[in-house]
């Protein structure tokens, strides 16, 4: 805001203090509690554990908390969902961006309405039952795709409009089929926006528990569903050390992805929002 000399000195101190208070305390609670024994963790507080047993707790959660199964469940849902929405969404967005007509305008409005409108969680379960997909991975993927296609269509259509059409026209004149034009020319150009969409949708789907509860609750396990089940079933009651060990295990993959692709994520998230 200002660049007065006093503020220039103070600002890093204020920043550091804010980080410690707002983030340090909650995150320290997670790590410290996850490193404690059950007896120490019954009343979670900020004292460091008398004896660190973080590794042992993580291993206990890993084996007793059915983490590998839930991890696999999360993966077989997240990966096809993301691949599916990216491919279908960018195919549709390409057409929507290139053909300006009343029909495509209406289709675009319908296509992005899902960004704002909440999905019908109860009746989708009924529909899946009628389709014979209730409680299946395929049903869950379909529901997620229905929810997040709108995000992809929104981001990619905006992006396609900014790239010149000349390349595609040249390829068409050279006799390339629409499919070849899309795969060879459009898709590679979409890389940055697809990277953003991948991150956003991974984030939503990886962490979702609400939709998963209705669609596959009790049938297929995912990491958040598993956490939700064990934490609310009282199984982990007074087992804060295990809950937080689970939280660490579950958050690590996303934080690792973030650490690797930080710059791209930040520029991607912000690029679409302020135009």
């Amino acid at each position: 805001m200002s660049d007065s000399p006093i503020w220039r000195r103070l600002q890093p101190i204020v920043t550091a203090a804010l980080v410690v208070v707002l983030l340090g305390i909650p995150l320290w609670l997670v790590v410290a509690t996850a490193g404690k024994s059950q007896g120490e963790a019954i009343q979670p507080d900020l004292t460091p554990p008398g004896h660190w047993q973080l590794w042992a707790n993580l291993r206990q959660v890993w084996t007793e908390g059915q983490v590998p199964g839930a991890f696999l469940g999360s993966l077989i849902i997240v990966v096809p969902t993301v691949a599916g929405v990216l491919i279908l969404g960018s195919m549709a967005a390409w057409v929507l961006a290139r053909r300006a007509s009343r029909v495509t305008a209406v289709l675009y409005a319908l296509g992005i309405s899902g960004i704002i409108l909440p999905p019908a969680v109860i009746t989708v379960v009924l529909l899946l039952r009628q389709l014979g997909l209730a409680g299946t991975v395929i049903g869950m993927i379909g529901v997620y795709m229905g929810i997040y296609l709108s995000t992809v269509i929104f981001f990619v259509t905006g992006f396609v409009r900014t790239i010149p059409e000349a390349l595609e026209e040249a390829a068409q004149i050279d006799g390339a089929s629409p499919f070849a034009v899309f795969r060879r020319i459009v898709l590679p150009l979409l890389r940055p926006v697809l990277a953003t969409a991948t991150i956003l949708i991974c984030l939503y789907v990886w962490n979702d528990v609400f939709y998963a509860f209705f669609v596959i609750g009790g049938r297929v396990d995912t990491l958040p569903l598993n956490l939700f089940r064990v934490a609310s079933a009282g199984l982990y009651l007074n087992n804060w050390h295990l809950i937080f060990a689970y939280v660490i295990l579950m958050s690590l993959p996303l934080i690792a992805v973030f650490a690797v692709a930080q710059r791209r994520i930040i520029s991607g998230i912000t690029g679409g929002a302020v135009k």
């Binding site: 305390i25 979670p44 109860i122 609400f210 934490a231």
Partner: protein
């Protein structure tokens, strides 16, 4: 044109059809206790309205959404202004503030449940004894603050991007014309953030109306159902097998979001146009 087909087929099947079902099954007696589903007209609505559930849930949801939008934007804006300059400290701090955005909302809820236990870590820090999550008046504010804490990093990023788009020479010109730092900040830079404000307020409002995880993990809708937002109600009644009631509330949520989305976006866009 057929590139549109797969995406819109998925959208139709998994998004629009369930939404249409909402408008049908909200007027039936669908439940897990009966085999047949019969139309009952407006019975679900009159029943939910007469015992006060409908309006209470609506009021709590809107209050929650407004509180989250206010807090999240205040925090995000404050952080963006604080961390605007590109120094090493600021860059590290920004990364830290993004960690909650990546974490699962459920995990965030459990962390704060542990922090805010009566005579838990926060009470120990302040040397008081207060049940933060069991106050029938103030707990909704506490939960909204937690929600804002989780998402403030995202708002911060978007405000930062907004601040970056403002050309330096405009502020400089104002300074040369004799405007104080304070004045040139509030009168010139803040109004130019309008697109970022639109995006942040709209996403915070509409996103928190569709919230679930944080409320469920901290209070589960309590104490005395004072934090029972629509999705918590839907989750609870679905668990009790009262599918028609849950569907009715799902329809109410849909209509609420749809009705609020248009004016909110319209008003914010208009403000943008004036500025």
């Amino acid at each position: 044109m057929w590139f549109l087909l797969p995406a819109y087929a998925v959208l139709l099947l998994f998004f629009f059809v369930p939404t249409a079902f909402n408008f049908i099954y909200a007027f039936t007696d669908w439940s897990s206790f009966k085999a047949a589903i019969n139309p009952v007209g407006l019975d679900n609505f009159t029943q939910l309205a007469s015992d006060g559930t409908l309006f209470r849930a609506l009021r709590i949801t809107v209050l929650y959404a407004v509180l989250v939008a206010i807090f999240q934007n205040l925090f995000g804006f404050g952080l963006a202004v604080l961390l605007e300059r590109d120094t090493v400290v600021n860059r590290i701090a920004r990364t830290f503030f993004l960690i909650p955005v990546l974490m699962s909302a459920l995990a965030v809820g459990y962390i704060f449940q542990a922090l805010l236990k009566p005579s838990g870590a926060v009470d120990q820090l302040f040397g008081i004894h207060y049940a933060w999550l069991a106050d029938t008046h103030w707990t909704i504010v506490v939960v909204a603050l937690i929600h804002a804490w989780k998402w403030m990093g995202l708002s911060m990023l978007i405000y930062l991007a907004g601040l970056k788009t403002i050309p330096e020479d405009i502020t400089e010109a104002a300074r040369i014309d004799g405007a104080s730092r304070w004045r040139s900040f509030w009168r010139i830079r803040v109004p130019m953030l309008a697109p970022a404000v639109t995006f942040n307020v709209a996403t915070a409002l509409l996103g928190s109306m569709n919230g679930f995880d944080i409320v469920q993990a901290t209070t589960g809708g309590g104490p005395a159902r004072t934090t029972e937002i629509l999705n918590i109600f839907i989750y609870r009644t679905f668990g009790q097998g009262l599918f028609a009631q849950a569907t009715t509330m799902s329809l109410v949520l849909f209509l609420l979001v749809a009705l609020m989305a248009f004016p909110v976006i319209y008003v914010l866009r208009k403000r943008e146009a004036i500025l």
